[in-house]
Amino acid sequence: MLLTISTTYPPATDLGYLLHKHPSRIQSFKLAFGQAHVYYPEAHAERCTAALLLDVDSVGLTRRPHGQFSENFALAQYVSDRPYVASSFLSVAIARVFSSALSGKCKEHPDLAETAIPLRAKLSILPCRGGEELLRRLFEPLGYIVEAERHALDAQFSDWGESRYFTVTLENTCRLSELLTHLYILMPVLDDEKHYWVDDAEIEKLSRRGNDWLAAHPEQESIVRRYLKHQQGLTRKALAQLREEDVQQTDEPIQQEAEAQVEERMGLNDVRLAAVTEVLKQCGAKRVLDLGCGEGKLLRRLLAEDQFEEIVGMDVSHRALKIARERLRHDRLPEKQKKRLRLFQGSLGYRDKRLVGYDAAVVVEVIEHLDLPRLSAFERVLFESACPRTVLLTTPNIEYNVKFENLQAGRFRHKDHRFEWTRDEFQSWATSISNRFGYTVMFHSIGPEHEDVGSPTQMAVFVREGREGKIT
């Protein structure tokens, strides 16, 4: 990874003083993750260019004591772009190698360090998540003239498209320390990644290096969020500091699941969960199953209703359950509440004795995540083996998709959807199920109803036909 910094401010060779590196030598520095070299490809009175060349030792980075491998151990660590791109590694290198310049100190020419001079920085490869647009939105408000050349993923396979890498030059008349600071903060922001653990110390860095310019930056929020690796708690705190506000202790907002993105404009998820909760209350259920409970949004609503004496959340994803447990603060609930709620991992593809004997089961936006050929197993698991008295089942109505402006035609609402059904398809499926397993079924619309295409979500409410007396 190469960063070059040029100036034409006469005598240009004074850049050597500013950087505290002699223009006629190459100097090398050892770093924790490799080494950095500083040299000057050109150095004369009219124009002087300093180069910071960073070697990241990829093999050394990934070596661990024998036999120890981390949880998310993947090949990605070994075939990695980190040694080649401008990232947090380069920020650290700048802070180490150009520490005095970064903090605006210069023993020999203190006034020069305080002077705005014409500067030009070039980054050989800068990864930009958010593309050229974000690159410009970050640097242009700071007075830079931005030039960016985007690179293709692979010249031989043009259909693979563009990469997220740019060769970038930034021109500005400013103090050198400003340039270095902007790079220091904004490179990892564009890369949207950090090679080290982010904690409170990172907020301190941000406020120290960003105090004078970040507060007024129009992209302040996304800069802070990305710089703090999207950690919401840290981000809130940092933004509050920047805006000199008090930190509000609010409830951790539940992150929108990716699923909802298409639908979120109309707040469909809330409408859906409210509708499900209402029907569930009406049917008089006391012991209920939330099958495919995900991160526990519906569970939270159900917990708020005293009618439900026993609530079980099941999901196939262990991770989702962990999040649900955290969000519902399961281990901090009062004993009585805690007893009402049980969470466990399970799969709707496997018959499960733990699901037998409940008043009702809700299956909200789940079936469309199952492969069609595996639906038959799901049907038997739920309607034959678990056979709760009532089943509430929702799924998207594909007819409504044309109403979503942010959804490409012919696409499903979510990447993982294996199918989406029209109202006819859903109703004929649900009717055949109800006949086969001895249920009656009614259909409901959820969300704004449209004359031609119906409502965005369709719900079937199955009720087991009266054999209660006989079933034990």
């Binding site: 036999g67 040694p83 490869i125 690179h151 692979d154 593809g349 496997y350 492969d371 698991v381």
Partner: protein, 854 residues
Amino acid sequence: MIMQIPEPSLVLLIGPSGSGKSTFARKHFKPTEILSSDFCRGLVSDDETDQTVTKDAFEVLRFIAAKRLAAGKLTVVDATNVQADARKPLLALAREYHYLTVAIVFDMPTKLCQERNEARPDRDFKSYVIRQQRQQLRRSLRGLKREGFRNFIYVMSTSEAVESACVERQPLWTNRRDEQGPFDIIGDIHGCFDELVELLKELGYGISTQPSGEIVVEPPQGRKAVFVGDFVDRGPKVPEVLRLVMGMQKTGAAICVPGNHDVKLVRALRGKNVKQTHGLAESLSQLEKTPTEFKTQIAEFLDGLVSHYVLDDGKLVVAHAGMKAELQGRASGRVREFAMYGETTGETDEFGLPIRVNWADEYRGAAMVVYGHTPVAEPQWVNQTINIDTGCVFGGKLTALRYPEKELVSVPAHQTYYEPTKPLLDEVNELPSVKTQAYDDVLDINDVMGKRVISTRLHHNITIREENTITALETMSRFAVNPKWLIYLPPTMSPTETTNSPGLLEHPAEGFTYYRRQGISNVIWEEKHMGSRAVVVVCRDPETAKRRFGVIGDTLGICYTRTGRRFFEDAAIETELLRQVKEAIDNADYWKIFDTDWICLDCELMPWSVKAQELLRQQYAPVGTSARIALGEAVVSLEIAAERDIDVSHVLDDYRQRTEAVAEYVKAYQQYCWQVQSVADLKLAPFHLLATEGAVYFDKDHQWHMQMLTKLCQSSENDLLFATSCGVVDVTDDASQAEAIRLWEELTAQGGEGTVIKPLDFVVHGKRGLIQPAVKCRGREYLRIIYGPEYTLPQNLERLRSRGLSRKRALALREFALGVEALERFVRREPLSRVHECVFGILALESESVDPRL
């Protein structure tokens, strides 16, 4: 006194303290069979005499007893047991586990007991305690039979009697584990004598009529008939059937269990008031003409029949209406009732017939269960159980199951003798294959969750850790194909030991050395294609997919990845690929040669970019692009600096080398990518012919596999199938190895991934167990994709050389054994759950953390 004690049973020793129970128990039973209340007191309190912990001690005792009863072990409870209240929970336990109970009573003189207690330093009873216990005992004596001890009550009242007593263990009547067959198990006959004779002849039984009119049946060498009951009612020749079967049982040519109709007939014959429905009237009117003596014989015969049998070392269970695992080989009213009627909900359906519970659906026992009772159109294997009542009397057929061959033999009914109450046959005929799989359709969460121990033929018991099953459950549920298709997953493969050859990490010589050290002389190398692993199952027609795999829909088979995902999102491509493979099989005449209508192949599918598109775009291409530009710019900049006479030479040299390495890296991955628009752009290289109907091919060596598959490739009319180059190497011969090494060098120089080295035999056991079935030896350029573009730089290579293979190799063996096990179970027609547990195990093991570069 000789005490006959059924094995297993729950034996209660009953007597006051000091009456000699423990001494008696030690003399006649194994120490592990005895559960003593004193010992349990010791367990919970460190003091065997501490009476204050009695309650806890008995809880422990009952807990252990329950475990032993569940396991089917004879268990002796050594406690005073003098009060009915103390015996009650133990008797309840016995009932719960369908155990017989035995009472051995020590009705000793109070004085003797007191003397003995006084002689024991740790006993400090007041004398009234013993007196009281004795009184309680005496009060109990009369009621023991009613309490549930029935015929097994032994009372001793003198030391001499105790001294001379002798215990004889008797296996339960149901236990005929010594009978190892082979058997011909015959379904419900219902008086269909002619069909029975035909079937016996078909099975090779010699049938001759004596001058006396008696029919003598001569079984084929070593075989024996087993009848699942329901000999009588509905059909035309009930007396003839009974005469034949009774004769066969008498000569030892047959084993019989009773059916519900048989039992009902006995009651009628004994003059009980029985409703003459369901064909009983026909039996009675036919029997009317027979001599009274014959009727007495019939009643004795039918009365003497035992509810069910456990045969062949416990591998086979025969019962009229089936038998749950926990009831097999047990004795109780409920067991008998189950054997007779199966399990019912107590409700009746619209035809007035009892609604049955699908016990077979949930059956997970080890023994095969063969039964009848409910007529079906075709016998159906469900979880190791099969119902062979094919409704002969209703105009269906009479069926026999040959054991252990698992072959079905049937003769059609001559006519419909009796109209069925409900049109069952029609209903089944409508969708026979769907019905077949109906029970097997649904797997149980208990088949896969939690810590699992899977026993395999090749590699003993394999343990799957709970945290791995957690991960696998999600992968399996969300991404894997229908479990019915998932009959195999390929194992992971370890590389060769790390070589010291300059510039390389892997070299064939290391692979040859590994196998030589294992005592193997001949190995085979096969080209390792750089694509993605694919398992292909092809059926002859959609009907086979339905019948054999239980997959409904117009499909010829499937192509899935090493993690069980469907290979192609585009169904049209898969369909065409399967069609082309099927065509090659047609042309090679393999359906006939292997006598099969499906084939399972282990393959590599190219190009890599089909499956790895995401990986290429997210990882490989970005690294290539960024590296090329970053290093290129650095070199230019350093060269300019060099012109200024700055000594950057060492850095510049380094960067030039790195630039070259990166160029090689880009070339390496690009070779494995090409655009795919249709099947014409794909290459499928099969390298194992895994299985066909009734057979797996792990007993054939790799040369055989290569020959069979080369022929298959040659029979293809398209370019899809692609033969793999290979060669046999004698690892004790230098020239032979040198030639193989030369070929490897050539192959990898041209951009090939490398080779796989395998022992010639598919499965090899060495002195220390199973040997790696294959090791891979990857080329220098290919490994850039794995170890990073610049791994070949000397400073990198040196560090990378220290890599540990042991975890990877242990994993490879376990996955290999599980894969073989899965296929073998599928081919043996074991239940879906048994196949699935192996495949699930492999998927779970894949989440073990192992260096992914290996």
